[in-house]
């Protein structure tokens, strides 16, 4: 080899023209592919279209029926286990995934009928002391990433970002939001059509009350948050979808209906009950809770500028002026969104907490805040493990998730539980109508259904949550 290396004479000769041409074509093709991968595709509304991007094994995973697998996994784990087997089975699971059995409630493992129930276990009171900090962890888990959000792009891992608009959705012009829906009627929102439910109810800690009961009787449709509260609240009888609660006339007052929107209007799809963990509260307790949250929010009872719906002031709309910085891409200026009107000296931040299979899988409120709306994005159910997050671009935008949006002491606040293959079911205690990982045709990525919680608290115009209050959780399948 040494001889060959040292003694072989170097003989230069020109490449055939065809080889050079082929090389140029290959280089050009590679450049084009890379450009296409980096290109941000926008839909007709200017929102980024997210597509599966990543190495070949990501595409193989994308071809799997993950949602069906997830539901099958949930079904299998909902099967009741023999009582004698439960302690052995759950101890083995706890050993394999590092669960601390000393902190669960109930501690008797025979009390958990299935692995699904054990997975959604509760913790004993007092095992999680709550720090005095303004922001505390909403879950047991691992901090995957955190930082400031620049140009409305969130960093998934170093070098890979995704659009915040695509992640939490944008307010569409004409959409019904908490500001023009003060009664908190649940609204299913789809960017392409607005579907309004006219049942009269407000949701307080998972218990539904008629709006008439909640804000007091009387005629004339006096809406708004200044209506005095009177009487004792009693849960409203659940009406089947299509019963038309507003027309019954026995719900304590005349409530103005939201307008139906063309042919697209339809009844709200009843999604069934969701188990409510929070204890039932009296009106006095509810008001005391509201006042407590309001105090923590330091008197920010009024809607903060960040949540105030604004005119887009987009030149395309002809409104003139601009509240958004000049030079922002047109697709970003096209939408009104709370994340675009921050207070002076404020920025957007993010943090990602990953819950491993052995972790306690309920999530809690990370601060004192008011949830004004939720947006349910039906999507894929890829694993959200750190391994996957490093490989699949836009993972959190592709997956099914529930964006809970509202306000806290410093303005906008959003919390987004993101589902995964093994835990496709996201539960929110105060939202009995939310159903995730359901069978059926999936809407295209980016579409979401929206519910508004403005009727949950007369005082705060949303669902108030105290720091570390349990909000919901992830269930298997």
């Amino acid at each position: 080899l040494i001889n060959a290396w040292t003694e072989t004479p170097t003989k230069w000769y020109p490449l055939p023209l065809a080889v050079g041409a082929l090389l140029l074509v290959a280089l050009q093709y590679r450049k084009k592919v890379r450009r296409a991968q980096k290109e941000v595709m926008l839909d007709e509304n200017g929102v980024e279209v997210v597509k599966l991007k990543g190495p070949w094994h990501v595409h193989v995973l994308g071809a799997l029926p993950l949602r069906n697998m997830s539901r099958l996994w949930g079904y299998v784990n909902s099967l009741e286990l023999p009582v004698w087997f439960r302690p052995y089975g759950f101890k083995l699971y706890a050993y394999a995934f590092g669960c601390n059995l000393d902190e669960i409630e109930p501690r008797d493992l025979r009390a958990y009928p299935s692995l699904g129930d054990f997975f959604y276990r509760k913790l004993r009171d007092g095992v999680r002391p709550v720090d005095d900090a303004i922001l505390v962890s909403p879950a047991d888990g691992t901090i995957l990433h955190f930082g400031a959000i620049k140009d409305l792009r969130v960093e998934q891992v170093k070098g890979i970002t995704y659009s915040l608009d695509a992640f939490i959705g944008v307010d569409k012009p004409g959409s019904i939001n908490s500001s023009n829906n003060p009664l908190g009627v649940v609204v299913e929102h789809n960017p392409d059509m607005t579907v309004v439910d006219d049942r009269e109810f407000a949701n307080v800690n998972g218990i539904e009350y008629s709006l008439g009961q909640l804000i007091g009787g009387g005629n004339g449709g006096s809406s708004g948050t200044n209506t005095p509260v009177s009487g004792t609240l009693t849960p409203m009888t659940e009406e089947p979808a299509g019963a038309g609660g507003a027309s019954d006339g026995d719900s304590g007052g005349s409530i103005p209906r939201l307008p139906r929107v063309g042919a697209a209007a339809k009844k709200f799809e009843d999604q069934g009950d969701v188990s409510v963990v929070e204890p039932e509260r009296s009106l006095q307790e509810t008001l005391a809770r509201d006042v407590s949250v309001a105090k923590e929010m330091m008197g920010t009872l009024n809607r903060t500028p960040s949540m105030t719906p604004t005119n887009d002031n987009d030149n395309e709309d002809g409104n003139g002026g601009s509240s958004t910085p000049a030079g922002r891409p047109a697709h970003e200026r096209k939408h009104s969104s709370p994340i675009r009107n921050l207070r002076p000296g404020h920025s957007l931040f993010f943090t990602v907490v990953y819950l491993a299979p052995g972790d306690y899988h309920r999530f809690h409120s990370p601060t004192a805040w008011v949830v004004e709306k939720r947006r349910h994005f039906v999507g894929e159910l890829f694993s959200v493990s750190p391994w996957m997050a490093k490989r699949l671009e836009g993972l959190f935008v592709l997956n099914e998730r529930v964006a809970l949006l509202g306000r806290w002491r410093y303005g906008f606040f959003g919390m987004v539980p993101v589902g995964a293959t093994n835990v496709g079911s996201i539960h929110v205690n105060f939202d009995k109508n939310l159903r995730t990982n359901v069978r059926g045709r999936r809407p295209p990525p980016g579409r979401y259904s929206e519910a508004v919680y403005s009727g949950a608290s007369v005082l705060l115009g949303g669902q108030p949550l105290e720091r570390a209050q349990e909000m919901g959780g992830f269930r298997l399948g």
Binding site: L135, S137, I143, F146, I168, S347, L348, V352, V418
Partner: protein, 33 residues
Amino acid sequence: STVVLVFEAPTEEFEFKVRPGEKVKVGQKLGDV
């Protein structure tokens, strides 16, 4: 599963009190002003 928090806070004053990869528990300090 994952929980993502997105929030507005004072740019200069807000500070995260955790590190990437750190294990956290419910109620543990994440950030403060």
